[in-house]
Amino acid sequence: MTQQDKTKEELIEEVRLLQKRIADAEQIERERERERESTYAESIVETIREPLIVLGDDLKIISANKSFYQTFKVTPEETQGRFIYDLGNRQWDIPKLRELLETILPQKTTFNNYEIEHNFETIGPKIMLLNARQIERVAGKERIILLAIEDITERKEIEAGLEKTRKELAVIKRTADEISEFAENIINTVREPLIALDQDLRVVKVSRSFYDFFKVKPEDTVGQLIYDLGNKQWDIPELRKLLDEILPKNNTFDDYEIEHNFETIGPKIMLLNARQIERGAGKERIILLAIEDVTERKQVEEKIKKLNAELEERVSQRTAELSTAVKELEAFSYSVSHDLKAPLRAMMGFANVLSEDYAPKLDDNGRRLIGVINDNVKKMGQLIEDLLKLAHIARQAMDVVDIDVTMLVQSVCQELREELFHDRAIEMSVKPMPAARADLTLARQIFTNLISNAMKFTAHKEKAVIEIGGYDKDGERVYYVRDNGAGFDMKYEDKLFGVFQRLHGQDEFSGTGIGLAIVSNAVRRHGGKVWAEAEVGQGATFYFTLPKGERNEQI
């Protein structure tokens, strides 16, 4: 059959087939084209470093890149064709993502840097930055969504760290500024001149008082070598020693004394206090030097020292004089004791030799006269004894102890009764007394004299009553000896405690008039006082004070 043999229908059919083949070929070509484009797009997707997913209109995942699978630790099988929110145990069901995909994107078709913070089941808490594009009619789809995911967790952390550091730095800087201001204020507030030097001993900072004191100007000072300051007036060997030798070893130095004749302010004595402060890596150092002018103080001290020396000399001179006087007094009482008694012994002795050897030649009056000599010698002897006692009390060294006064008084009473008044009926009442702090010998002497006086002056009473007691009054410890004896007229009270003062005639009561003077002296040596109350014929009470004792001590 030839071409001409074909029917019209056959030809039409042929054309139609041809047309179809062409159309098919075109279709294939188009699909190839589309495939090429698709591969191209996919290649791009694959090469992107950030995780990227392609979503369909229905929010099901069409594809994802390798980075996505790696980052979120998932496989293509469990990803492709899945609803995005269902991915990886619904870990992508994030409200903000829903908001982005369902609300924002349909309106805007593109969205950049949408930040999502979420705790992902597979990879933990992350901060993600999402970039989304909605593209119409691609890859045979009406609409696809490209979602690029950038993990900015680390970056955020770094940023946060940076921010924190920045803030801290700001705080540090503020603090440093404050400290620096504070330091500056201190420097300018301190009264003493203060100077700060760097490690080369050049002046860094100077207090106002330094300028005032040394009469220098800031422009001539700051930056200068300290030794060069003010026409080299600070070039002092002692200062060089301090700064060059001592400070490098010690870091701190107090009260280093420098005496120097300063050109601007004259001769001064300065007390230097230095601190070496290490800065930074320990390489730099700052030396703070506080300068105190002690010139005046030194002068005053010198004056005081001189005065003290003079005073001491005077005191030792007086002490020497005094000890000479004391020695003379001792020599005096020694010779009184020794030399005055010998003639008395001779007088009495030879008067008795007279009465023994010449008895037949003496008549009654002669013997009476010898008796008068004897009596007077005895009296003189007693006077000497009492005077010695008085002198002894004034110079005897005191040994102060706590004294059980009650026991002391009891022992004194017993001794006196046995020795002197054994033939008399005396009612003695010794009350319990608080302890005294005194010299035992002197305390015994005081009570002995007062009690023997009381015994003596009650001699004419039918019934002698003597009471001894003690109490605290107005913070003082008072002791008393009371008797119902002869008493005395209070108008003579002032004579009572003087040496050789007697208020009674010798024919009434014997005595030398020294006993109460001894009492007074002994009490005064303890810083106490003594007084009396009396009425003629009604008795007398003698009071005295002694320092308070605490414990009782064995008498």
Binding site: H338, P343, L344, R345, A346, M348, V353, V377
Partner: protein, 148 residues
């Protein structure tokens, strides 16, 4: 046999009145012939150590007691006491300090130097007499001295 043989008491006393009264008191006890009197410390030392005027005395027949006043011319009583008590030959001789001083310091010092007794001479004639008699009686008749 020499003139010091019978001496048993050495009285060192510079006051002639005290010497007379003392000897008078010893006489009453019949001891006056046993007493030898020197009137200063230097003589006392010469007597005791058999020197000076007393070279003819025998140091091996010491007195039974020395009655020594403290206040003496030339060498004082304490120095005499010290020398006697420091010397091996004489330290055993009893020394009785017989003085007017009742200074506590004198008493203490005398005993420290080795005094065997310390007596304060009383002013009262009667007491003085009794004291001397007692002294003589005690040191000559009662006390037993060591054999030198």
């Amino acid at each position: 046999m020499n003139k010091y043989e019978q001496i048993e008491i050495l009285l060192v006393e510079d006051n002639p009145n005290d010497v007379e009264l003392t000897l008078r008191a010893f006489k009453k006890s019949n001891l006056d012939n046993k007493v030898y009197v020197v009137t200063d410390g230097a003589q006392a030392l010469d007597f005791i150590f058999c020197t000076g005027a007393y070279t003819d005395r025998n140091i091996k027949s010491p007195p039974k007691v020395i009655l020594l006043d403290l206040k003496l011319p030339k060498v004082d009583g304490k120095e005499v006491l010290r020398r006697v008590k420091l010397d091996e030959r004489t330290k055993v001789i009893p020394v009785v300090i017989m003085t007017s001083s009742q200074e506590e310091s004198d008493v203490v010092e005398s005993y420290h130097l080795g005094a065997n007794s310390y007596i304060v001479k009383p002013i009262d004639f009667e007491k003085f007499g009794h004291m001397i008699a007692g002294l003589g009686m005690y040191w000559i008749f009662i006390n037993k001295p060591p054999i030198v």
